[in-house]
């Protein structure tokens, strides 16, 4: 990285600010690679398949035909699904953020017994296969079910509730990871100077919190806007979104023209959402005093600590704890329902379905345990890939170039790597089939090789890594780096001992997130042929679609396994997070 023989000056292309000005050639090369490697990865495994698929819809007999736009937009249904997509995603994102902020506070800013368990628990919904969540939700809401009296089955409310169920963890983890490192002294100072708890939150805490909130909100919006199984199972086509319509047009009608037009519309909506989120972030983004979690996190007590003055924010903390407790109970309802149903054997109860997980009964090609191993193996590879690519992207995007063009380039790169979450899995999946037969002239049919599976998962996990690591990198006080440079550290050394050292703190969170996303991924990968070794979500999907109550029970039992596995891994990653010091210099 700092090879002394290289004397090439920093190229203008390096999207860098101060660090590269030192003119160390090795460092310049590092930045070139840091931009080129992720771009090549995204270009090859995302942009190319998507372009291949969309161009199938616009190129007819070798010439460009854009008449599809006029045709698709003249259908009243198109406008309805565009409206429904924006409505569902906006409402669900708003609710997830409103509920997630108190959750982040209670789960990351306060310390209490059992916190680690609850943190892992709220992550479980994020990875459950949508078919399973559909079962868990619908059997609660169906008339005669435990919550049948609410009459929510097949309503927009049920869809929004399920979307919030999935994405609550995204907000809690995204906001909480940053919040727990925020130096509490500014807030304490404000309070000491006579500000009310609310005023302290408004003037000190909220501005600091806006970037991670905007960041999480944009993630949730993308997840909601591309939700597919949830919408179909809970609402059906009357609440169809752009995503479900692309699926129907592609897999059922083979109307590639309509699908291509809708893919472009989806890209536009996602692009607008990302731009808005980026603006909200950029307005507030600034260096923050980060401290160690140990300093920032206070214990949560139900009773006011004796001797503390009134109006110390105790009421706010209790309110947040109350909201969060309610949310956790609501999250548990479908999960408990799932466990209960997995224990149902015929007219009685038992562990039969769990015992069957080791077998290849019901005509499956592999046992659930074998699929679990496959899932773990691919998720490890995917997480490793996502960490490297996402880490590089976050590092590049965290620079603050002086020129306007440089800043734009950085912002553009940031948005670019979010796109995989906002583009239809069907478009990507079918695109893989079109583009990955002997890609780049290599004599390999990647489509059926299984190599693509972890890659496709990594493409989806990269944005999560970026969104987790980036806020931490951006919040690093530039004075810290200036101080290091003044003390004689080379730019490379500053990068290593300041940026990287601080960034590794959020690695545990990023690993957990990326791993969970890879484990649960059931989008593009479901279209990738995996000869004889399906991942767990794919196997669950196959099991649930097979006639026979035993397959169904096994699918539910396998989902419980997936949930427990996820919770365990996420909890382990949380434990591995480095509690080292941050801003106490």
């Amino acid at each position: 990285m700092s090879a002394p023989t290289l004397t090439r000056p920093a190229p203008a292309a390096a999207p860098s600010g101060a660090p590269v000005r030192g003119g160390r050639g090795g460092l310049a090369w590092f930045w070139v690679l840091a931009v080129a490697v992720p771009l090549a990865f995204l270009g090859l495994f995302f942009a190319w398949p998507v372009v291949a698929m969309i161009s199938r819809g616009f190129v007819v007999d070798g010439s460009l035909d854009l008449s599809g736009f006029a045709d698709v937009f003249s259908r009243p249904r198109t406008w309805r699904i565009v409206g429904l997509t924006i409505l569902q995603a906006t409402v669900a994102t708003t609710i997830a953020v409103l509920l997630g902020i108190p959750g982040a506070y209670v789960l990351y800013r306060r310390r209490w017994r059992g916190r680690g368990l609850v943190r892992a628990l709220v992550t479980v919904p994020f990875v459950l296969p949508t078919v399973v969540v559909g079962v868990a939700f619908r059997s609660l809401l169906v008339s005669g079910g435990p919550l049948g009296f609410l009459h929510l089955d097949g309503t927009l409310v049920a869809i929004v509730a399920a979307l919030v169920f999935f994405d609550y963890a995204v907000v809690v983890r995204g906001v909480g990871g940053m919040w727990e490192r925020l130096d509490p002294r500014a807030e304490q100072a404000a309070r000491a100077l006579g500000a009310s708890p609310w005023r302290a939150v408004r003037t000190v805490t909220r501005p600091a919190r806006t970037p991670p909130i905007a960041s999480s909100a944009s993630l949730v919006f993308l997840f909601c806007a591309t939700a597919f199984g949830t919408v179909l199972i809970l609402g059906g086509l009357q609440f169809g979104t752009i995503e479900t319509e692309i699926w129907v047009q592609t897999t059922q009608f083979l109307d590639l023209r309509a699908a291509a037009v809708l893919s472009v519309v989806q890209l536009v909506i996602v692009g607008v959402a990302l731009t808005l989120a980026g603006r909200a972030r950029a307005r507030r983004e600034r260096a923050l005093a980060l401290s160690s979690a140990a300093d920032a996190v206070r214990p949560l007590t139900l009773r006011r600590v004796p001797g503390t003055p009134p109006r110390d924010g105790h009421g706010l903390a209790l309110a947040a704890a109350g909201v969060t407790a309610l949310v956790v109970v609501l999250l548990c309802l479908p999960l408990v329902n799932l466990v209960v149903r997995s224990l149902r054997v015929g007219d009685g109860w038992g562990l039969d379905h769990y015992a069957a997980l080791g077998t290849t009964g019901g005509g499956m090609t592999v046992s659930v345990w074998a699929a679990t191993l496959t899932s773990l193996r691919t998720a490890v590879v995917a997480t490793g890939l996502a960490l490297v690519v996402g880490g590089l992207v976050a590092l590049v995007v965290s620079r603050r170039p002086r020129q306007m063009a440089g800043r734009r380039a950085v912002a553009g790169l940031d948005a670019l790597f979010m796109l995989p979450l906002g583009v239809s899995a069907v478009t990507v999946g079918f695109g893989f089939l079109l583009s990955m037969h002997e890609p780049l002239g290599l004599p390999i049919d990647l489509r059926t090789s299984g190599v693509l599976v972890p890659i496709a998962q990594a493409v989806v996990a990269v944005p999560l890594v970026v969104r987790t690591v980036l806020p931490v990198l951006r919040a690093i006080d530039p004075r810290l780096k200036q101080a290091a440079a003044t003390l004689g550290a080379s730019p490379g050394r500053v990068l290593r001992s300041v940026d990287l050292a601080l960034a590794t703190r959020s690695v545990g969170l990023a690993v957990g997130f990326a791993f969970a996303a890879s484990l649960g991924e059931f989008g593009a990968t479901s279209f990738l042929a995996r000869p004889d070794d399906p991942t767990l979500p794919v196997l669950i999907f196959r099991l649930i679609g097979r006639p026979g109550p035993d397959s169904y029970g096994m699918a539910l039992a396998a989902s419980v396994v997936l949930a427990v596995l996820t919770a365990g891994i996420v909890a382990a990653c949380e434990r591995l997070r480095a509690p080292g010091s941050g801003g106490d210099w």
């Binding site: 193996r377 190599v451 026979g548 080292g580």
Partner: protein, 361 residues
Amino acid sequence: MPKKISVVTTTALVATLAAASLAACSSSDDPAAPAASGGTTSAAPGTVTLVTHDSFALSDGILDDFTAQTGITVKVVQQGDAGALVNQLVLTKDAPLGDATFGIDNTFASRAIDEGVVTSYTSTVPAAADAAQHSVGEGLTAIDYGDVCINVDHAWFTKKKLAEPTSLDDLTDAKYKDLLVVPNAVTSSPGFAFLLATIGAKGDDGWQAYWEALKKNGLKVADGWSDAYFTDFSGGGADGPRPIVLSYASSPPSTVPKDGGPATTGALLDTCFRQTEYAGVLAGAKNPAGAEKLIDFLLSDEVQADIPGSMYMYPVSRAVDIPADWKTYAPLATNPFAVDPAEIAANRSTWLADWSQTVIG
């Protein structure tokens, strides 16, 4: 000191992950190695790739017997439901995903044939004569078939002392208001099969009125078959609220109580649409000879006898026995409704759009 440890822990975590990725990369390359060269090994007589849908299944060891008999290894590639399968085959016909395909049904057969996805092959094994009874056109060989029918929960009707419906028309009777659930015709292939049953029964211009009557009578549309059967249906083991569901003629045997006694559900054989599944050699296959052998094998007694237990369909071959409880609880319809495959191919989009308009709104 704790700081040091924590940094070390993080570094170790990253290093372990990186190492694990590498290890996993190389270990996943092992199974991938023959697969990665799948494009090339298919050319060797040693491997044949079968592209099929998610429901394809055979008992353990059957495909190994094929390898023992012929020396050919079978690689199974499963690509979503029947619709997704056919559409992917159409999209990739210039560089096919494999050599043989199984799972194209009579509702998609015309699209596959018209698009030139499969190439002509006529099997000469004994069961081929039985398969020819289901012929749909050049290039597709029938392997199995079954009926998609309305199922009723006997226990529910006995308890309510209500006579069970028997025909499509009964389902619009006010006696059976709010009792029927069917899967969505657009997103589920049994759902579409039932739409075809009503088109076969009521004609091209009569089915819309029938569905309007169903809707008025409290029809519930679920997303997929499993959703309808296991969540909404009262007889599917989960105590859902509705005692009438669209399912298969082969569903009742799985509702035979464990301690004996008759099945608690039954199929209404005057409400059925017949679904036939076909196999074919893919155009442009690298190993067409192997693909032909595999299709012959799918018609062998060994596979045909396994089909009811593993895929819940009837084998086309009359030479094999079907399970005893199928004879009792899963008889086939004598006169299922039928619609010409060419007509289905021509009208699929229009019908589904009309159906959505009428039923979903």
